[in-house]
Symmetry: C2
DNA sequence: CGTAACTTTGATTAGTATCAAAAATGGTGG
DNA sequence: CCACCATTTTTGATACTAATCAAAGTTACG
């Protein structure tokens, strides 16, 4: 986690020590547990040490839209950190090890340590960039492109997190959850996945995805990784 | 602008003075001008003093998705402030007065002044919350609900900015732009607007919108203003 | 093993897009 | 102030994508 922050907004050794010594408690949380609930005040900030989680909102009609997916090393709750009431829920997708940090500790360290504040802020800005791309994905791409796009995104993010390689990864989501992330029905996602398989772009085995032809899937998904901001260190120059 | 920041994350008088004295240049910018271009490094941070602007991205197919709308008093470019390359473009919707602040100045003041950093950060977190809601809007709501929802959002945001009252406002967007914000075609947006009018929920005159029945439009749009975080001051308790 | 959750397939429908064109509006120069 | 042109709004007809409904397979798990 620290490595990730550092890569985008450099921290001194002292900063890293300060981060490591922030008060927190680690707990193992089962799959399907809520880390944050829509409408409740955020009191702890959860950092995923292992496992997966997703943010979602429910419409008045009862439909669910997943608005982001998070994996080991990511903060799941900085988004709510300085707001009074959570505007969405966060739920684990798998069993997960979670470090809970009291909001108060986050508030204190960010006031006393501007470099850390900066690094956390940058982290939330990257989240925002992904939200924007999801608006586009869901708003302006057809079903095949949408699904291909999200498969590309997951592949790169998991590789960056060291959870995948060679364009092969475990995706611990049901097709229904995938559907809720791309704004389609699970039935349709199923058909699209089959089609992508038939075209030789991907292959699947249970929950594992192998991208057989990265270049073509990238094109099919209208995917450009720039929005992930994986390689940049703007703040490096101060 | 300062008032807005202060309301969500309190600033001392000294902070306010510091903000006011940040180096900047004010320019009048014509409608349709780009403030940020996708793919270019952000060098200045634009603060809208008057007028409107929107962020957008273009898909490989050439379709446009507007990902947010900004009005007087809002920062248009904090989102890119610490990232190396912009992942989207920002264009003015109307003629606008814009204060340009060099990124360097933002970086310096946020390192030296944690309260200001906090306030700006909170501002970007609220932006994120709106992005999330847009993902839901575009991903899981039908056309009528989507349009009603965005009309509600604009009404509250404009009122909060002092640009509207009594649920009546000027919306300087064409129906095509509105369509690009809700992920529909302009033809369909036109039909939905007509329908909302026939149902007595809104009325229109040129670009001005009057919400004739707030309660019913709110229901029609599955609208809950919580995600706008207009009334909260979490950081107040530090 | 038995059962619930998930995936897959098929048939039909609904909602939006697309295409086309007419009407209205707004701005410009004469 | 008017005539003209470009842009925007409106309407209609048709096509297509993805939703819905239903049910059969398959997988995971206690």
């Amino acid at each position: 986690m620290i490595k990730r922050l550092d890569s985008r907004s450099p921290l001194s050794e002292a900063d890293k020590l300060a981060l490591l010594s922030v008060q927190h408690s680690v707990r193992k949380v089962p799959a399907g547990a809520h880390l944050v609930r829509d409408g409740e005040p955020p009191e702890q900030c959860a950092l995923l040490l292992s496992g997966y989680a997703y943010r979602y909102k429910i419409t008045g009609e009862g439909a669910r839209q997943i608005v982001s997916l998070h994996m080991a090393g990511e903060f799941v709750d900085l988004q709510n950190s300085f707001l009074q009431v959570s505007d969405h829920s966060v739920q684990t997708l798998t069993e997960a090890d979670v470090a809970f940090v009291p909001m108060q500790a986050i508030r204190e360290i960010t006031l006393s340590n501007p470099s850390i504040a900066r690094a956390l802020w940058v982290d939330t800005l990257v989240d925002s960039s992904i939200f924007r791309e999801w608006v586009v994905n869901v708003g302006r791409r057809d079903s095949r492109t949408r699904v291909a796009h999200i498969l590309c995104e997951f592949s790169l993010r998991l590789e960056a997190a060291g959870l995948a390689k060679d364009h092969r990864y475990e995706l611990p989501m049901t097709q229904e959850q995938l559907a809720d992330a791309v704004g389609l029905t699970s039935v349709h996602v199923n058909r699209v996945l089959r089609q992508l398989g038939e075209e030789g772009l991907i292959s699947r085995d249970r929950r594992s995805i192998t991208i057989e032809d990265w270049q073509r899937l990238r094109e099919a998904g209208d995917f450009n990784e720039r929005y992930l901001h994986h390689d940049f260190v703007a703040a490096a120059r101060n």
